[in-house]
């Protein structure tokens, strides 16, 4: 059973204009130096309120930099909210940044282990799944060589196969299907459909408006870290498309 409840959630990144603050600067700041490197606060999520109950499939759309990925990472627990409360109940499976975090020197089989354990598997539960993962990613003997020799596509195949081998309550997805060859994309889409059926709650971040309409029961349109519109997918997508079409019409 999955449940997500966000109350007035804010996430603010404090970035430096140039690089990080150095120890020297930190120590001297209070004494006599005025900083040449001011902090820029980026309000990635702005008073976000959202409740998702069992069975809901949420599609998140919006421009680049609207805070969609930050929201997903906050839901996954990677970014703690700067203020507000985040309640997430249920086992999470996150499909974002899936091709990072591999140990390049280790071979495919070992990386299946690391990733599996990272997702909370035990040697016992993973043993059953290893064969299944190997079969799904179709990498065959490549699993015996270190992953640093893998191509980007192969890495995504492996990552996707591992990430989707769990049975989550909550599925968090960020544009994973745009990579890999045609055959794999089709296969991956099938697997995604199965997972969406099995998991009790899903959040899908996508620029593919068709898949949002196809898979989701609810959609939100985000802009500057806020929810601009929340409702039935078709209505939200139509409104979003209209907003994109308008400036284009002016130019034409």
């Amino acid at each position: 059973m999955g449940r997500i409840e966000l109350k007035d959630v804010n996430v603010t990144f404090s970035l430096r204009k140039t690089t990080k603050v150095t120890l020297k600067e930190y120590l001297l700041k209070g004494l006599f130096l005025t900083t040449v490197n001011p902090v820029v606060a980026i309000h990635a999520l702005n008073n976000l309120n959202l409740t998702l109950n069992d069975g809901e499939r949420l599609g998140v759309i919006g421009h680049n930099g609207a805070g969609k990925t930050t929201m997903l990472k906050m839901l996954a627990g990677v970014y703690p909210p700067t203020s507000g409360s985040r309640i997430v109940e249920g086992r999470i499976c996150s499909l974002f940044d899936i091709s990072v975090g591999f140990e390049g020197e280790a071979n495919g089989w070992d990386n299946i282990n690391y990733r599996g354990y990272l997702q909370g598997e035990t040697p016992k539960s993973l043993k059953k799944k290893r064969g299944e993962i190997a079969e799904f990613c179709e990498l065959g003997d490549f699993l015996n060589i270190p992953v640093r020799y893998y191509s980007a596509g192969m890495l995504v195949r492996l990552a996707f196969a591992i990430a989707t081998a769990t049975e989550p309550d909550i599925l968090l997805v960020d544009e994973v299907l745009s990579v890999g060859d045609m055959a794999f994309v089709t296969k991956a889409k099938d697997r995604m459909r199965q997972m969406m059926k099995k998991s009790s709650l899903m959040v899908l971040v996508s620029h593919d408006l068709n898949s949002v309409q196809e898979f989701c029961t609810r959609a939100v349109w985000m802009e500057h870290g806020r929810v601009l519109l929340d409702g039935e997918p078709r209505a939200v997508v139509t409104a979003y498309q209209a907003s994109i079409a308008q400036p284009a019409a002016v130019v034409a």
């Binding site: 150095t22 120890l23 940044d97 591999f102 280790a106 997702q119 035990t122």
Partner: protein, 265 residues
């Protein structure tokens, strides 16, 4: 805090498998493999034996070098362990950034990966030392050898604490890792490793030996293993106090910064 430690335990397969991988990849493509881990202390021992047997300070005791070689290897083993734990611990969040960004694991796991990896090297060196004691010493095995194990556990916990603090500090200020490297070099000469503590005590600097947190761990690991002496209880109390403070500070730093450190990575 208890939740944090529970979570570290839940993900034990994850960090244990990474420790194993670190060990395997370190010597991948080399002929001897893990044998290098053995060879390193062995080579060091050979050098120590040769040096000490040729430059014998006291001609009335021609066999003194035998003991010096054992004592110095023991001191170096503990020093290397603590130094590497701290220096490599600095980078433990930066190196595991991909995992930190992927999944909200307890932060204590990453310094633990460093400490465990270094502990294995410590154990290998100490095994070489046990052999050396049998070869050069007056008895095959000191009857007090059992006391080494709790001391190693203490040293590992102490190492985890300092590595955790260093990891957070380095994430905020990258200069810290360089500062620590320089400071470690100076600290090496302050610690009676290549010389006997008597040298400092004679200079009225005995307090430097007493408070030195590295030396206390050298003492409680070396004495039962090499000299067959169990150090006084107050030395154990000092080591225990150091360990408790280090672990408490490490846990405190995690509690304080765990919700913020990701924005610094």
């Amino acid at each position: 805090m208890i939740d944090h430690m529970k979570a570290v335990w839940t993900f034990r397969y994850f960090w244990l498998s990474l420790v194993k991988m670190d060990l395997v990849t370190r010597y991948r493509r080399s002929v001897l493999g893990i044998g290098w881990s053995m060879l390193h202390p062995l080579a060091m021992t050979t050098v120590l034996c040769v040096v000490f047997s040729h430059f014998n300070a006291d001609p009335t005791k021609p066999d003194a070098w035998r003991l010096y070689a054992q004592r110095t290897l023991a001191g170096l083993a503990v020093w290397e362990f603590l130094r590497n734990t701290l220096v490599l611990g600095c980078k433990s969040f930066l190196q595991n950034e991909a995992y930190i960004r992927l999944s909200p694991l307890p932060y204590g796991i990453y310094p633990l990966r460093t400490v465990m990896g270094n502990s294995i090297h410590l154990l290998i060196t100490l095994t070489v030392l046990v052999i050396l004691v049998a070869v050069l010493g007056t008895v095959y095995v000191q009857p007090t050898i059992w006391a080494v194990f709790p001391a190693i556990i203490l040293a590992m916990l102490f190492g985890w604490g300092i590595a955790t603090i260093a990891a957070f500090a380095t994430t905020y200020f990258h200069d810290v890792s360089h500062l620590i490297e320089v400071a470690a070099q100076a600290f090496f000469f302050l610690t009676p490793i290549m010389y006997e503590p008597k040298l400092l005590i004679d200079q009225q600097l005995g307090w430097l030996v007493t408070v030195n947190p590295v030396y206390v761990f050298i003492e409680i690991i070396r004495e039962p293993l090499v000299s067959g002496i169990i150090p006084d209880w107050d030395r154990y109390a000092y080591a225990g106090g150091m360990t408790a403070s280090s672990v408490a500070l490490g846990l405190g730093t995690i509690a304080w910064l765990q919700k913020r450190v990701i924005f610094q990575l």
